[in-house]
């Protein structure tokens, strides 16, 4: 047998693999989706199974303003990142701050709704199955909004300090994936709690 060395076929060049940030974030989103799925299943399974009042129809009002605020924040965060990609840091900071404001309005709205339910309607997590599933599902979502707002505020602080440059658009974009996820979850929660369950 000859000992000539054969030339291997050329490999695909340039060798490009998916970016770590996006893949990591999509994995996290998949895990979060599974967690929310279990809470949504519990909510749907217990619709109408409470053995005492109050029922959702008696106490829940559809939070239309809140929903509009949260969903439009997905648009503003998208526009903010487009601005940063073009190097327009002023527009980025403004739109980013608007996103945070919209998220904060949503959280305040949830707080007011809970205050109304607890102090005026007497519904707590201990009252009945509706209370249990409602506060845990909406609360889990509100917790994610809070975490998201914390992350967004950190980026805002960096932007105001002038540390955020055009080349960071990619990293900010990864964070925005999480925020879009939180918004999509709200669509599901809204449908289940305020449309199906009511």
């Amino acid at each position: 047998m000859s000992s000539t060395t054969l030339t291997p076929p050329p490999i695909e060049t340039p060798w490009i693999l998916p970016s770590r940030g996006r893949v990591g974030m999509f994995c996290l989103i998949a895990a979060e989706t599974a967690i929310f799925t279990i809470f949504v299943v519990a909510y749907v399974y217990y619709i109408g199974k409470s053995i005492s009042g109050p029922t959702p129809r008696e106490v829940l009002e559809i939070p239309i303003f809140n929903t509009i605020c949260l969903l439009s924040s997905s648009l503003t965060i998208h526009l903010a990142i487009s601005a940063l990609r073009k190097g327009n840091r002023g527009a980025f900071t403004g739109l980013w701050a608007l996103t945070i404001a919209l998220g904060a309005i949503f959280l305040i709205g949830t707080g007011r709704e809970w205050h109304h339910l607890i102090y005026e309607k007497g519904l707590t997590i201990q009252t009945n199955l509706f209370g249990t599933t409602y506060y845990s599902l909406v609360g889990l979502h509100a917790f994610h909004v809070t975490v998201g707002l914390f992350g967004l505020s950190l980026v805002l602080a960096f932007a105001l300090l002038g540390w955020l440059q055009q080349e960071h658009a990619y990293r900010v974009d990864v964070l925005s994936l999480y925020w879009h996820f939180v918004d999509v979850v709200w669509i599901v929660v809204f449908t289940v709690v305020y449309l199906l369950g009511r």
Binding site: M1, S2, S3, T4, T5, L6, P8, P9, I11, E12, W15, L17, P18, S19, R20, V23, G24, C27, L28, A30, A31, E32, T33, A34, I35, F36, T37, I38, F39, A42, Y45, Y46, K49, S50, I51, I125, Q126, N128, L129, G131, T132, T133, Y135, S136, L140
Partner: protein, 557 residues
């Protein structure tokens, strides 16, 4: 250029003090050190969980025994199950994944090194939380201590009424915390495999162990998360007075069963799939042949990953589901045997016609093939509803799943230990002691778990702390307990072998097994950066191509 001379011999570096070395380990983000810490952590808990098992076997060796009280017995089986699954099997497999996956795919570290360290320490603190229950679960006041609700903690046992004190809280919080650690590691493994492969390593050329870890990572993400959600619900029930699993308020205990087993059954596959990975690396090397049916192996793994999410309620046939529910889960459970069977044939096909070397890693893998087959067969028996109605909750079930976990997962993991120990330490494990370990463990395993099926068939229920004489169960239980002793001695030999070989063993060199994957191209143990230059691969066996330039694999792939 400066005319400064460079000393060719570096200054003697002072040996770091113990505190410095410890500090180095605690603050490390190196995937190899984290992998070794995962494995060491798992070994410590293997011994702890093993002691709990031996306590149970001593209690059951004789009828009407009072070696431990019923309360202690309940704590032992709860802690044994929880420890072995969450703090032995998962960490040891994560450890091997962490250590070998970046080396196998030609990367310098995991995708997120700090997340990696964070996940490891979450797992450690989860385990510490669970074990703190011995003193913190009101144990100091004599009001019960460790959790005693069984490893699947069926509602309403976990409610405040039935679990006063804090024992169940420690169970729930410990698993919640370590669950976040598992999800972090899974995210890391998937991202590493997706984004860090060296040039030329397409998915079709990736070593099978990396493939199996990819599937395992995806399953951890979709299986551990439901458990996390269910643990949050238990915490809400116990701390805030919610009613998720409170039947008095209309809640459902069966819902907990569904939530637990939608985690619990995929979890078995989370553990067995990396074990398949060990076999897929070891069997070809010791048969001196490339893996038979690589694409089919990948396809079978991925389909097991999907099908395993459709079988969970075969744990619940005795709950009283509808006929349609029962039928669905019987069929899906039988279907999952098909891709698993394909895998067994692939390994046999790899061995067929090969020059088999009966080294210790290979012995463990061959034993795996037989034992996992039997475990699969009793699995099909239990997966058919009418048979299950007879034997659910009996020792037959206990024998079945120990056959999977010990006879399958643990044997494959031991194979992995003997195969990669030379890479991790630079020393070979002693072959003689290894054979003693193998044969004693093999005999002990079969004494314990073959004979455990029989009292199950004779009607002995699981989780009983004792039994009356004269039911025909005594002899079987004595054999089972004797087997446990054999296994204990074998584990001691294994631990001794590791310690002795680490200090006194033969030097391994870079490539002691004449293997074909990338980890054997670097030194043993590898430097912190793994590869001085990132390799380029052209086939599934890059080292074969290097060793046989006249007949490389890429000509045929």
């Amino acid at each position: 250029m400066s005319s400064e001379t460079i000393a060719l011999t570096p200054h003697a570096v002072a040996t770091p003090s113990l505190a410095e070395r410890l500090h180095g380990w605690v603050t490390t983000v190196d995937h190899k050190r984290i992998g070794i810490m995962y494995i060491g952590f798992a070994l410590i808990f293997l011994v702890i969980g093993g002691i709990e098992a031996v306590i149970m076997r001593m209690q059951l060796a004789l009828p009407n025994n009072d070696f431990v009280s019923p309360q202690v017995f309940n704590r032992m089986f709860t802690m044994h199950g929880t420890t072995m699954i969450f703090f032995v099997a998962m960490p040891v497999l994560f450890g091997f994944g962490n250590y070998t996956v970046p080396l196998l795919i030609g990367a310098r570290d995991m995708a997120f090194p700090r997340l990696n360290a964070f996940s490891f320490w979450l797992t450690v603190f989860g385990a510490l939380l669970l074990y703190f229950s011995f003193v913190g679960g009101f144990g100091l006041y004599g009001a019960g201590n460790a959790p005693d609700v069984g490893w699947f903690a069926y509602a309403p046992l976990t409610s405040k009424v039935f679990s006063p004190g804090h024992s169940s809280d420690f169970w729930s919080l410990g698993l919640l915390v370590s669950g976040f650690g598992s999800i972090g590691t899974a995210v890391n493994l998937i991202t590493t495999i997706a984004c860090m492969r060296c040039p030329g390593m397409t998915l079709g050329k990736m070593p099978l162990f990396a493939w199996m870890n990819l599937v395992m990572g995806a399953m951890v993400i979709s299986a551990i998360s439901p458990l996390t959600a269910a643990q949050i619900m238990i915490c809400l029930d116990r701390y805030t007075g919610a009613h998720f699993f409170d039947t008095q308020a209309g809640g459902s205990a069966v819902l907990w069963m569904h939530f637990f087993w939608i985690f619990g059954h995929p979890e078995v596959y989370v553990l067995i799939i990396p074990s398949f990975g060990f076999l897929s690396e070891i069997v070809p090397v010791f048969s001196r042949k490339p893996m038979f049916g690589y694409p089919v192996m990948v396809a079978a793994t991925v389909s097991i990953g999907f099908i395993s999410f459709t079988v969970w309620a075969h744990h619940m046939f005795t709950v009283g589901m509808s006929t349609y529910g029962n039928t669905f889960f019987v069929i899906s459970t039988s279907i999952i045997a098909v891709p698993t069977g394909i895998k067994i044939f692939n390994w046999l096909g790899t061995m067929w016609g090969g020059k088999i070397q009966f080294r210790v890693p290979m012995l463990f893998c061959i034993a795996f093939l037989f034992q996992f087959l039997i475990a699969g067969l009793t699995g099909i028996m239990l997966g058919s509803a009418p048979f299950n109605w007879q034997l659910s909750g009996s020792y037959f079930v206990v024998a079945h799943f120990h056959y999977v976990i010990v006879g399958g997962i643990l044997f494959a993991t031991f194979g992995g230990f003997y195969y990669w120990f030379p890479k991790m330490t630079g020393k070979m494990l002693s072959e003689t002691l290894g054979k003693w370990h193998f044969w004693l463990f093999f005999i002990g395993f079969h004494l314990t778990f073959d004979f455990m099926h029989i009292p199950g068939l004779l009607g002995m229920p699981r989780r009983v702390y004792t039994y009356e004489a004269g039911r025909g169960w005594e002899t079987w239980n004595q054999i089972v307990s004797v087997g446990a002793l054999f296994q204990g001695v074998a584990i001691l030999i294994f631990v001794f072998n590791m310690a002795w070989s680490y200090w006194k063993g033969k030097d391994a060199g870079n490539d002691p097994w004449d293997a074909w994957t990338l980890e054997w191209t670097t030194t043993s143990p590898p430097p912190e950066y793994n590869f001085a230059t990132i390799p380029t691969v052209y086939s599934r066996r890059p080292l074969w191509d290097v060793k046989h330039p006249e007949d490389p694999d890429w000509k045929y792939e």
